[in-house]
């Protein structure tokens, strides 16, 4: 049963990703991306990562893709052509993409996973709750990266405002 849900979600994610990279219309591309992100969120749910599934929908599909849509609307109609400058570009890209895929799949050898398993068994997660466990980890062992990410978000906000300001020549 879980395998059936996984296969459906995998097909949905791959098809929407392919549709996004071949989209002529930018808005269609963004919407296909939203479908892909929601499929990934449900895959997170299958993997027992409930907090991340909600964060994925709220931040990725809900904020980042909405930002993309704002920019697409701001830029107006775009000629999103699929033609390239050199005729060898698309076959070469497909060839290298295929080579990369073969290389990535060839190294997937999961029985060789080393290291001792951490103590977070599914029974513990079912008892305590995934957000609480993630929070305990986030604020104890990873508190320094957490604070640094907050500074990073501040820098991003300041940078975005500076970049978007209209430059007016001093009179």
């Amino acid at each position: 049963m879980e395998l059936l849900v996984f296969v459906i979600l995998a097909i949905l994610a791959v098809v929407s990703a392919l549709a996004m990279i071949t989209a002529r219309n930018l808005v269609h591309g963004v919407l296909f991306m939203v479908v892909n992100f929601v499929a990934t969120a449900v895959l997170f749910l299958l993997l027992n990562a409930t907090f991340l599934a909600v964060v994925q929908v709220a931040v990725y599909a809900g904020a980042i893709m909405v930002l993309f849509l704002f920019v697409v609307m701001l830029l107006g109609p775009q000629p999103a052509l699929l033609t390239e400058r050199s005729p060898v570009q698309r076959p070469a890209a497909l060839l290298f993409g295929l080579l990369l895929l073969v290389g990535l799949v060839a190294v997937v050898r999961v029985p060789a996973l080393g290291g001792a398993p951490g103590g977070v068994t599914p029974e513990l997660v079912a008892r305590v709750g995934n957000p609480r466990l993630v929070g305990e980890l986030l604020f104890s062992r990873y508190v320094l990266p957490f604070e640094i990410v907050s500074v990073l978000l501040l820098v991003a906000m300041v940078g975005a405002v500076v970049l978007a300001k209209k430059t007016t020549k001093p009179q």
Partner: protein
């Protein structure tokens, strides 16, 4: 339970689709979304291995990746808007002033 290798292969396929999107398309916004697709594929593999290893460190890493991706999208889209305002194009092949 679905084996972890299935998730790893799915993440690899999504990553390669993102790479091809960056290589083939010329529109800056589609290229940017392909980069987000690559990040998403890596997030998926992180969470899959976190479940396989009975640890939540992978999920915390994905949390940070999502935060960094949000910051990167804000700056990147501001850059694209500034570029469009000065050059009236989002075709990356047209932005070649520095080309030798």
């Amino acid at each position: 339970m679905v084996p972890v290798s299935y998730y790893a292969v799915l993440a690899a396929i999504l990553f390669v689709i993102g790479v091809m999107g960056v290589l083939i398309r010329r529109n800056a916004i589609i290229i940017f979304m392909s980069i987000e697709l690559m990040l998403n594929a890596v997030n998926l593999s992180f969470v899959a291995f976190a479940r396989a290893l009975d640890s939540l460190d992978g999920q915390v890493f994905v949390f940070f990746t999502i935060a960094v991706a949000a910051a990167e999208v804000a700056i990147g889209l501001a850059l694209i808007v500034a570029l469009f305002r000065s050059r009236q194009t989002t075709d990356v092949d047209d932005v070649s002033l520095l080309k030798g």
